[in-house]
């Protein structure tokens, strides 16, 4: 337990230190100089925010507000600036109190996992299954990606690693049928949690999005209030397209939350800020590696502090 916890902190630190080197370094240099807030300063700050994939619109919003405060005399020094920035970003990132919206007792909680190709859906499912198994839940996972080569085998290995049961069919099988069977099996066998994998798909392919909508409808035939959560997996290395992904997946599937993967690299996943503001979707978890315990509940303080290079 303590070992796992220690490992977690090291992981987060490792991942975030790299982040810090890039962003925090730049900002610290800015602030440390005790400079006044002039145009050059603002330009540099803007570059720093943009480099985090925060996006032009959000960046401009921050800068405008900053300038307003400066003029009003509320912000004069670097420290004030940092506090303001942190606060404005953090305020937008509050996650819900619960990790997942659980179903009523006696009903399995159904979590549907969606996202573009290669985002980290299958891996995240393995990690989630292990997490809730450890918390004493009875977990079932469903190999709803019947399209990609060896996707079923891949999830099968995760099922073994997590020590949970899996429902699957053949490659080329009907994904909606697998999902339906999984929900039915969970009801019959009294599982607490069903997590359904889906094939990666680009959000601009309407026929693939329709297929996903059908999958949801089919689940609902078995359990009308399902899915209780629809998690969109986003790759932190993705740029502004992530916003478009979130918008379309949300419209089509009623996404309820995000998982930001691959935060163990140097990418910061700043698009999550825009997604939160424009679509109201909170980040639920972050992925910080390829191992089964490399999943963490999202912590807005840590996320923002990491961006600005503070512990």
């Amino acid at each position: 337990m303590f070992k796992a916890l220690g490992r977690f902190f090291t992981k987060i630190k490792e991942g975030l230190t790299k982040t810090r080197k890039l962003i925090g370094g730049a900002l610290r240099a800015l602030i440390g100089l005790g400079r006044t807030i002039d145009q050059t300063f603002l330009d540099e700050l803007e570059g720093t925010l943009l480099a985090a994939d925060i996006g032009v619109a959000k960046t401009e919003e921050i800068l405008t507000e900053l300038k307003r405060r400066y003029k009003a005399g509320e912000v004069a020094k670097g420290e004030d600036l940092l506090a303001f920035l942190k606060q404005s970003l953090r305020a937008e990132l509050q996650a819900p109190d619960q990790e997942l919206a659980w179903a009523a007792k006696g009903t399995p909680t159904v979590v549907l996992v969606v996202g573009v190709n290669g985002a980290g859906k299958t891996t995240t499912i393995g990690k989630l299954a292990a997490r809730y198994k450890q918390q004493g839940k009875s977990v079932l996972i469903a190999a709803g990606d019947t399209y990609r080569a060896a996707a079923i085998e891949q999830l099968g290995i995760w099922a073994q690693r997590a020590g949970v049961e899996i429902i699957k069919s053949q490659q080329g099988g009907d994904a909606a049928a697998v999902a339906f069977d999984a929900v039915a099996a969970a009801q019959a066998r009294g599982h607490d949690l069903v997590i359904i994998d889906t094939a990666g798909r680009l959000h601009n392919k309407e026929h693939l999005m329709r297929e996903l909508e059908k999958l949801r409808r089919v689940i609902q035939k078995r359990l009308p209030e399902a899915p209780h959560e629809t998690l969109l997996i986003l790759d932190a290395t993705a740029g502004q397209n992530a916003v478009q992904q979130a918008k379309i997946f949300k419209d089509a599937m009623g996404v309820t939350g995000l998982v930001l993967t691959k935060l163990d690299g140097t990418a910061k996943g700043g698009a999550a800020l825009t997604i939160r503001r424009e679509l109201g979707l909170p980040v639920r978890f972050i992925g910080v590696g390829e191992q089964i315990d490399d999943l963490q509940p999202f912590d807005p303080d840590a996320f923002v502090n990491a961006i600005f290079g503070d512990e």
Binding site: G47, L50, A51, N117, A150, K205, H207, T237, A242, E290
Partner: protein, 488 residues
């Protein structure tokens, strides 16, 4: 956030227009918009700065051309400079003079390496080569199965020996290729983060042991600002020969391509445009430049349309329209052709100036299916003589197609209006001018296949884009003024 850059871009045009000369000031203002466009397209912020400096140097040094609006000139410079940065198209793979050509594929997790290995193997096999795939991703669960399945699909053997470390496995794969008389070896490696020292050392080791003739970085087109960091790290370790950009079938602008070209200067060898193994294409810098600037990928649209429409069929259809012989059978054929082209919304998005209009629009494509079902339930006679479809026939058609007589009535009405309009509806420019200001198009307007047919070559010739846009805007302005007047 979701506004199309194309629109803003056009407004820069217009601002420049009429100013006559290119001053420092209007250049600055225009370039600010360009900067925004590039950043929204995910070009790295540092790269954008260098790029704009280069553009400024060019624009200021150059004298304003006679007869060309300065705005247009600047946009042209931006466009050309983008193409220059992205480099010429080069999808040639230099093969080894003796022994198998070794190709090493590397990149971040989930970028598309394994799929691209399959695509490359398929392409080379079609070119008469005898490729061997080596499954050396020992990290991701079932990665070896994945490659084996892909190999099976294209009839290319996959080499793997359990119990070995990746570098040793790859070295043996190359040996095996020699013995098996294979002339190309493609090494699929595990995805790795550029900051993962152990895994980066491993891939460097693979490189050392196999001395590949070509080493490609596989990168996701959706990558953001971070592209420069990973590209640089992989290039430092492996001295890359080229890059493969995947998932360009998405709607990302793909500015990462500019970032990595500017950072590592290696050619973009291929692009991936789908999950299937035939979705590998050469890179077109000109199209990419337009896409990054949000100017619409018209050429791709034309290609899609061409693939869907048989040229001679289109000619025949044109004839029939001219002679006023267009009937429901032709209509049916057109609907099918449109559907073959893929999602209407995707397609509209490719047309400059039109994309913005439709971004908020929810297009109900089921109307196409419904129409087809109804026409499918008609007799030959009814299709050629739609005017003669009476209530009894309508009822039968509705029953046969699972629709209502009202639906059939609507279809017929739509068809007849369309037929009437056809004589007047010559080309896309007019179509664009006809788009209503309200983005909520009726199904009729959407289902009007004349908007896309019959001769895409003529309708979407590239030089016409800007004129079309201009006309369309003028027309819209005129209509608005008219509406105002009428209200008074």
């Amino acid at each position: 956030m979701f506004t199309q850059i194309a629109d803003r871009f056009t407004s820069i045009f217009n601002r420049f227009r009429g100013s006559g000369t290119l001053t420092e000031d209007n250049l600055k203002e225009g370039l600010r918009e360009v900067r925004r466009a590039l950043l929204e397209a995910d070009v790295n912020v540092g790269v954008v700065k260098t790029f704009l400096d280069a553009v400024t140097a060019k624009a200021v040094g150059e004298s304003v051309l006679k007869g060309v609006a300065p705005g247009q000139q600047v946009v042209q410079i931006v466009h050309d400079e983008l193409i220059a940065v992205m480099g010429a198209a080069d999808s040639a793979i230099p093969f080894a003079k003796a022994g198998p050509t070794v190709i090493l594929m590397a990149g971040l997790q989930g970028s598309g390496k394994t799929t691209t290995c399959g695509k490359l193997a398929r392409m080379l096999k079609e070119q008469g080569k005898r490729p061997l795939l080596v499954a050396a991703d020992l990290q991701r669960p079932a990665a070896i199965d994945q490659l084996k399945i892909l190999g099976g699909q294209i009839g290319v053997p996959v080499f793997h020996e359990p119990g070995l470390k990746a570098p040793e496995l790859c070295a043996r794969g190359v040996n095996h290729a020699q013995l098996d008389n294979r002339d190309v070896v493609i090494l699929d490696t595990a995805g790795r983060l550029h900051v993962d020292d152990a895994l980066m050392a491993e891939v460097a080791d693979i490189h050392r042991r196999t001395t590949p003739h070509q080493t490609y970085l596989v990168i996701d087109a959706m990558t953001g600002q971070d592209a420069v960091h990973s590209a640089k790290a992989f290039n430092d370790r492996l001295s890359l020969d080229g890059v493969v950009v995947t998932k360009l079938d998405g709607d990302t602008r793909g500015g990462a391509i500019v970032s990595l070209r500017a950072t590592i200067g290696k050619p973009i060898k291929f692009v991936g445009t789908g999950e299937k193994l035939d979705a590998l294409q050469p890179f077109h810098p000109d199209r990419m430049a337009r896409r990054i600037l949000g100017m619409g990928d018209v050429l791709t649209f034309v290609e899609k349309a061409q693939a869907a429409v048989d040229e001679t069929e289109a000619k025949k259809l044109e004839e029939r329209i001219k002679k006023n012989k267009f009937d429901l059978q032709d209509f049916q054929d057109q609907l099918k052709a449109i559907q073959r082209m893929g999602s209407i919304k995707d397609l509209l998005g490719l047309i400059p100036g039109v994309g913005a209009k439709f971004s908020e629009l929810n297009i109900d494509e089921s109307v196409f299916r419904r129409y087809q079902a109804m026409i499918g339930s008609m007799t030959k006679y009814e299709r050629s003589q739609p005017e003669l479809i009476d209530m009894g026939r309508r009822r039968r058609i509705a029953l046969g197609s699972g629709t209502s007589t009202n639906d059939v009535q609507a279809l017929l009405k739509h068809f007849l209006t369309m037929k009437k309009m056809m004589g007047k509806m010559g080309d896309f420019q007019e179509m664009a001018a006809r788009l209503p200001d309200n983005p909520h198009l009726t199904p009729e307007q959407l289902a009007n296949p004349q908007a896309f047919m019959p001769n895409p070559n003529k309708l979407f010739a590239r030089k016409d884009d800007q004129d079309a846009l201009k006309k369309y805007r003028q027309e819209r302005k005129r209509k608005k003024m008219l509406a105002k007047k009428n209200r008074r």
